[in-house]
C-alpha cells in the first residue's frame, strides 16, 4: 500500500469536518423545536456521537467494511472486530491513506445517520430508549446498508449502483427510519392543530452553516484523496446547495408571498442532501439542476406530512428521504464519465444506470423502513419509547435532563440544595 501524505492530510481534515456536522445538526434541529425541548434534542444528537463511535470501532465497522461473509454481498465478517487487523485495507479498496483513517472517516457517517432520525421523532422520545434504538439500529440497519452500497463487495455496489457520499446509505436510510419511528411513537400532543414554531431561528442558521461547512468533508472527502475528483465534488456540493437555497425561497415567494429564513436554511440542507450521492459523478450542469430540483420538490414535499397525518416534526422525510431519492435517481440522467463513474441517460449511457439507482433506492428504503419500524415497535412494547404526557407538557429539558436551556430570570428563583434532596419529585413539577 502506497501512502500519500497529501491524501492523508485531506482525509484527516475531512474526518474532523464530518464530525462537526453532527453538533451542527443538533443546533439546526435544536433551533426548530420549542424552547422547553431544545436540550433534549441537542442531547440526542450529541450522545449519538458517543454511542456510535464505540459501536463502530468495536462492531459495525467490521460488519460494514469487513471481508464479505459468504460472498453474497450482504454483510461483512468480524475480521475487523474491536479494531483487529484494522491496518489492513478493506477488500476491494486501494487506499493511499492509512486504513485506520478510512475507518475513522466512515465512522463519522455512521454517527450522523442515526442523529438525522431525531428530527422526525422530536420532542417525544425517552432518552434511554433512544440510546438503545441507535445502538441496535447501527448494527441491523446502518452496517448492512453501508455494506451493500459503499463496500466494493456489496451486492448493490457490484450491480453498479452509484452513491458517492451517502445519498442512499445516509439520507434515504435516515429519512425512512425517521418516518418509521415517528409512526410508531405517534404524534406530538396537539399536532397539527397546536402551533409549534421554531424557538430560535438564528440557531437554525448557525446549524445549517456548520452543516454546509462540514459537508465539504462529507462529499469532497469521499474521494478519499486530495485530487481532481475531490475538487469536482467540492464545487458540485457548493453549486447544488446554492441552487437549492434559491429554489426553495423562490418557491416560498411564489406560494406563500415571502421568502423565509427557515426556508433558506432548509433549501441549503435539501441541496446538500441531493448532491451527496451525485457529487462525484456529475458536472456543474447536473449539480445546478439537481440543486434546483431539490429546492423546489423538497419545499413542496415537506407539506405532505399534513396530508399523511404523520408528525415528522422537523421534516426528515421531506428533506432527507425525498432529497436523497432525487439525488440518487438524477445520477441516472446526469452521471458523466468525465467526472467519475459511468455515463447516465443524458450522456449517452442509456437507462441502465437509472435502473440500478432506482433499485438501490427502493431496496434501501424498504429495508430501512421495515427493520426500523420493527425495532421501534419492539422498544415500544418492552422498555417504552415515548415520554409520559406530563413529561411532554413540561418539556424534555426539565423532565429528562433536570436543566433549562435559557435562564433569564434575575433571581433564578431557586436555592442550592446541600446534602440530601428534600423533595421526592425530582426534576418534575407535579
Amino acid at each position: 500500500m502506497h501512502l500519500d501524505t497529501g491524501d492523508t492530510a485531506w482525509i484527516l481534515a475531512s474526518t474532523a469536518l464530518v464530525l462537526l456536522m453532527t453538533p451542527g445538526l443538533a443546533l439546526f434541529y435544536g433551533g426548530m423545536v420549542r424552547a422547553k425541548n431544545v436540550l433534549g434534542m441537542i442531547m440526542q444528537n450529541f450522545v449519538a456521537i458517543a454511542v456510535v463511535s464505540l459501536v463502530w470501532v468495536w462492531v459495525t465497522y467490521s460488519l460494514a467494511f469487513g471481508p464479505d461473509w459468504g460472498g453474497h454481498g450482504i454483510i461483512g465478517t468480524f475480521h475487523f472486530f474491536g479494531m483487529s487487523n484494522v491496518n489492513d485495507a478493506p477488500p476491494g479498496y486501494t487506499l493511499t491513506i492509512p486504513a485506520v483513517l478510512f475507518m475513522a472517516f466512515q465512522m463519522m457517517f455512521a454517527i450522523i445517520t442515526p442523529a438525522l432520525i431525531t428530527g422526525a421523532s422530536a420532542d417525544r422520545l425517552k432518552f434511554g430508549s433512544f440510546i438503545v434504538f441507535i445502538t441496535i439500529w447501527s448494527v441491523v440497519v446502518y452496517a448492512p446498508v453501508a455494506h451493500w452500497v459503499f463496500d466494493p463487495n456489496g451486492w448493490l455496489f457490484k450491480r453498479g449502483a452509484e452513491d458517492f457520499a451517502g445519498g442512499t446509505v445516509v439520507h434515504i436510510n435516515a429519512g425512512v427510519a425517521g418516518l418509521a419511528v415517528a409512526l410508531v411513537v405517534g404524534r406530538r400532543k396537539g399536532w397539527p392543530k397546536k402551533a409549534m414554531p421554531p424557538h430560535n431561528v438564528p440557531m437554525i442558521l448557525l446549524g445549517a452553516g456548520l452543516l454546509w461547512f462540514g459537508w465539504f468533508g462529507f462529499n469532497a472527502g469521499s474521494a478519499l484523496g486530495a485530487n481532481l475528483l475531490a475538487s469536482n465534488a467540492f464545487v458540485n456540493t457548493n453549486t447544488a446547495t446554492a441552487a437549492a437555497l434559491l429554489a426553495w425561497i423562490l418557491t416560498e415567494r411564489i406560494r406563500d408571498g415571502k421568502p423565509t429564513t427557515l426556508g433558506a436554511a432548509s433549501g441549503a440542507v435539501a441541496g446538500l442532501v441531493a448532491i451527496t450521492p451525485a457529487c462525484g459523478y456529475v458536472n456543474v450542469v447536473g449539480a445546478t439542476i439537481i440543486g434546483l430540483a431539490a429546492g423546489v420538490i423538497c419545499c413542496l414535499a415537506v407539506r405532505l406530512k399534513f396530508a399523511l397525518k404523520l408528525d415528522d416534526a422537523l421534516d426528515v422525510g421531506g428533506v432527507h428521504f425525498i432529497g436523497g431519492v432525487l439525488g440518487a435517481l438524477l445520477i441516472g440522467f446526469f452521471g458523466t464519465k468525465a467526472i467519475g463513474g459511468v455515463n447516465g441517460a443524458f450522456h449517452g449511457g442509456g437507462f441502465g444506470l437509472l435502473g440500478e439507482q432506482a433499485l438501490a433506492v427502493v431496496v434501501v428504503a424498504v429495508y430501512s423502513f421495515v427493520v426500523s419500524w420493527l425495532l421501534a415497535m419492539a422498544i415500544k412494547k418492552t422498555i417504552g419509547f415515548r415520554i409520559s404526557d406530563e413529561q411532554e407538557d413540561e418539556g424534555m429539558d426539565l423532565s429528562l435532563h433536570a436543566e433549562t436551556a435559557y435562564e433569564f430570570s434575575p433571581s433564578f428563583g431557586g436555592s442550592q440544595i446541600f446534602g440530601k434532596r428534600e423533595t421526592s419529585e425530582q426534576g418534575s413539577a407535579k
Binding site: 396537539g190 397546536k194 402551533a195 407538557d393 426539565l398 433536570a402 436543566e403 433549562t404 430570570s409 433571581s411 433564578f412 428563583g413 431557586g414 436555592s415 442550592q416 440544595i417 434532596r421 428534600e422 423533595t423 419529585e425 425530582q426 426534576g427 418534575s428 413539577a429 407535579k430
Partner: protein
Amino acid sequence: MKLIVAVIKPFKLDEVKDALTEAGIHGLTVSEVQGFGRQKGHTEVYRGAEYQVDFIPKVRIEVVVDDDRVADATETIADTARTGKIGDGKIWVIPVEEAVRIRTGERGSDAL
C-alpha cells in the same frame, strides 16, 4: 365590569383561549409569570450542584367582562384549565371602575 385574572398551566393556554372565544368572550391579555402556590417547584442539576427552583412558570390571563358574564367566564376558564392535579392555578375577580377603547373613545361596557 370586572377584571378576571387567572394564573394557569402554560400548556392549557390555547384551550382556554379557544373556550373563551367560543363562549363569546373576545380579547384577553396574556403574560408569562413565575410563582408558587401549594405546588412544589422542581429540581435542576448543573454539574452535580442541585437547585430547588420554587417559582414555577405559569401563564397569567387577564380579561375584562360585564358583570353578567363573570360567572360564565370564570367557569369556562376553570373547567378548561383543570387537570385535577396540584398546580392547576387560581382565578380571582376584581371590580373595574372604567374602561376606554383608545381608538374610538368609547367608555364602559361599549369599550369591551
